[in-house]
């Protein structure tokens, strides 16, 4: 077993110890289809939690996206995100010569599934912020890829912004029913509907 695999097992064990990392599949079964999971974003721990909540065999084909500036700023962070999570790095600042979605498009062309946080940044309020347009563009380019909304519950209490050590509190990830762009639906309407789909999972028990 490679070091990264062992570290991955250790990390998912720790995530389960600390949060329980329960995945609840309400709108769809956990299947190895190509998917884009999109979720609310409250903490750095979101990444670990949603990853640990996925069944082991889905983890290998599901790649979370990570902000390049933050997650490559130290060798350890880079090693964790690249070797364990197999993350796709994206630039948060849009530059003129490069489309920030390019790495995602490439990953989807490869047949990988993605985990994205369409708010773009971590919120610390209860409700997610308005979604950015990346999700819409990906959905437009890849109509065959399922869009799965996910609600991550409680994780802001585990590791609030600015803290580094997580407190053990039980969390869960609720996965909802797949979504599609309706014919003739414009960008804002779709993004709002996607956000609604995520928020509505909060009350599914």
């Amino acid at each position: 077993m490679k070091l990264a695999d062992a570290a991955g097992l250790l990390l998912s064990f720790l995530a389960r110890l600390i949060t329980g990392a329960q995945g609840h599949w309400y709108g769809c079964p956990p299947k190895a289809e190509q998917r884009i999971y999109f979720a609310n974003h409250q903490s750095h721990f979101d990444l670990v939690l949603i990853w640990a909540a996925l069944p082991g065999d889905l983890r290998a084909v599901t790649r979370p996206i990570a902000a390049r500036d933050y997650w490559t700023s130290s060798p350890l962070k880079q090693w964790i995100t690249r070797e364990i999570f197999n993350a796709v790095y994206v630039n948060r600042q849009r530059t003129d010569d490069q489309d920030p979605l390019e790495p995602l498009v490439e990953a989807l062309h490869n047949g990988d599934s993605l985990v994205i946080f369409p708010e773009g940044t971590r919120g610390n309020k209860g409700d997610p912020q308005p979604f950015k347009s990346g999700l819409y563009h990906l959905a437009e380019q890849f109509p065959q890829v399922q869009l799965i909304p996910a609600w991550i519950d409680n994780v802001q209490r585990v590791m609030p912004k600015g803290e580094v050590v997580p407190v053990p509190i039980l969390c869960s990830v609720t996965f909802g029913a797949p979504l599609q762009i309706l014919p003739g639906e414009d960008k804002r309407a779709f993004l709002d509907r996607a956000r609604e789909a995520v928020v509505s999972l909060r009350s599914v028990h």
């Binding site: 209490r157 053990p168 028990h205």
Partner: protein, 322 residues
């Protein structure tokens, strides 16, 4: 029964094993056979509750047995894990704010392991004061440093209460296992066994009595079933079973009866208190949010033990003048 006392430890252990798991298996078979006949919805619901309680007793028995077989260090570790899981459930359903982050870390990663290490290393004098004196001083200080006065007293009280029940209470189970009593060396596990059995007996007897008696509840807003008479019957049953088990304990029959009463009475009262806490948190069981958080209700199961263990432990120490 006096003859049982003169058996060697190994023989007593064997006898306990047969008696404990024999009775449990018998009860389980009887309960299972009764599910085969037709019953009304109300009876079914009661039967479900009984099955849940029975499962809890099984867990308690297995936990006891594993910790007995594996020895002191493993027992401490095992109860430490149970305490961790219970405290995690407690905190999940408790209102805390960002400013409590550090004090929660202190409770989980400093107070909990230290308390169990104190139990494991038999520093019982420090063990009994470490949480109520030092941790209860440190937690509000660390919370206050979080710079958030909103509901400060309430938040601190809730964290401290969780520490008291889930960590302090639970840690007395391995402490009982490890305590060195005069002429009773190496048999601490019998005390834990005695406690678990007696508390479970009290719970079951109280439950059965409640169904038969249908008394007016003492505190309807908290528990629809708790009545003093049912409680007394539960504690009486635990006293009776405690006296029957006296040969496994360092007590003579009459003190064993009293100890059984104390343990059973505090255990069921502890359960009653936990009901009040649950009502306050707005849930029916600690595992009630299971579909959301993955809590499985460990705290529901161990709460009576958490309340009974410290009282019992100190009663034992008083009895021996330690």
């Amino acid at each position: 029964m006096g003859a049982l006392r003169n058996l060697t430890i190994t023989e007593q252990v064997g006898l306990l094993f047969v008696a404990l798991f024999g009775v449990l298996a018998l009860v389980t078979v009887v309960a299972f056979s009764r599910t085969l006949s037709e019953r009304s919805d109300g009876q079914l619901a009661m039967h479900e509750r009984f099955k849940r309680d029975l499962r809890a007793v099984w867990w308690g028995a297995v936990l006891f047995w594993v910790s007995w077989v594996l020895g002191a260090v493993a027992a401490t570790l095992l109860f430490g894990i149970v305490s961790f899981v219970a405290f995690r459930e407690f905190i999940t359903l408790t209102h805390t704010r960002r400013a409590d982050h550090r004090s929660l870390l202190l409770a989980f990663f400093v107070a909990l392991p230290l308390q169990f290490m104190l139990a494991g290393s038999r520093h019982f004098d420090f063990f009994t004061v470490f949480i109520p004196v030092y941790v209860f001083f440190a937690i509000p200080v660390v919370s206050a440093l979080g710079n958030d006065p909103q509901r400060f007293l309430e938040r601190t009280a809730k964290i401290q209460w969780g520490v008291m029940v889930c960590i302090y209470g639970m840690s007395h189970a391995p402490a009982l296992l490890l305590i060195d009593l005069p002429r009773y060396a190496g048999r601490g596990a019998f005390l834990v066994f005695y406690l678990v059995v007696v508390v479970a007996t009290a719970q079951i007897a109280q439950e059965l009595a409640t169904r038969r008696l249908r008394r007016r509840p003492v505190a309807r807003a908290i528990s629809r079933s708790f009545s003093w008479r049912a409680w007394l019957i539960g504690a009486g049953a635990s006293a009776f079973v405690g006296a029957l088990l006296y040969w496994a304990t360092p007590f003579k029959p009459i003190p064993a009866l009293v100890m059984g009463f104390i343990a059973g009475a505090t255990g069921t009262l502890g359960e009653f208190v936990m009901k009040a806490l649950k009502r306050d948190a707005g849930v029916r069981t600690w595992g009630g949010k299971a579909s959301v958080t993955g809590a499985v209700g460990v705290l529901d199961r161990v709460a009576p033990l958490c309340f009974a263990a410290p009282v019992f432990f100190h009663a034992v120490r008083w009895y021996f003048g330690l």
